[in-house]
Amino acid sequence: MTDKKSKSVFMEGAITSEFIGNSIYKHQTKTNIGAHNIFLGQVRADVINDKTVLAITYTAYLDMANQKFHEIRESAFEKFELTCMHIYHSLGTVKAGEICLFVFVSAPRRKVVFEALEYIVEAIKADVPVFGKEIFEDETHQWKVNS
């Protein structure tokens, strides 16, 4: 019951809490799962030089990004005994407080989901060509850099 098929990672706009709740619901038929671990990236209303971030607009080098997501997926399934794994990332504009990244891993037992989730999130941050334009309230912007 290992669900390894590749699906589209990118979604237009924010990832809603309903979408996440529904994704959790769908796993209740997989009764060999004992532990889920979920990471959510949320857009922060950072204040930079007295200006507040209202939203981030995401773009990506799509062909390469999809290829990288595929490699991260394959590599995580190789390293960790996961039952399933889902990754969703926003494209376009995501407002402060909204969710732009949703990573969901599941396994029979808990130890492996902690390791796998951190591995996947770090790999996404490091390897996937996604770009973020932080939009301030006065309509100026700056380009986000992962740390």
Partner: protein
């Protein structure tokens, strides 16, 4: 040899285009292509970016193969 060059993120604010095609000699190295681009776009040199050829990051001493080149500013996924 026609090379397609793609620009992303803040680099597009310098190039004012997402993509262009340049005719380069066979055997040209990435850093030679970059010299050409720096002449065309003055401030490109001041920006931090990596180069991908055929969707893999490459060293600046790599030979152009004729495949797609992308200039990628720092990643900001998640």
């Amino acid at each position: 040899m026609l090379i397609t060059i793609k620009y992303f993120g803040q680099l597009t604010e310098i190039t004012h285009t997402n993509e262009e095609t340049l005719d380069m000699l066979e055997g040209t190295l990435i850093y030679e292509l970059l010299e050409t681009l720096y002449r065309k776009y003055n401030t490109l040199k001041t920006k931090d970016f990596q180069v991908a050829q055929n969707q893999e990051l490459v060293d600046k001493n790599t030979k152009l193969t004729g495949q797609e080149i992308a200039l990628l500013p720092p990643f900001a996924g998640g």
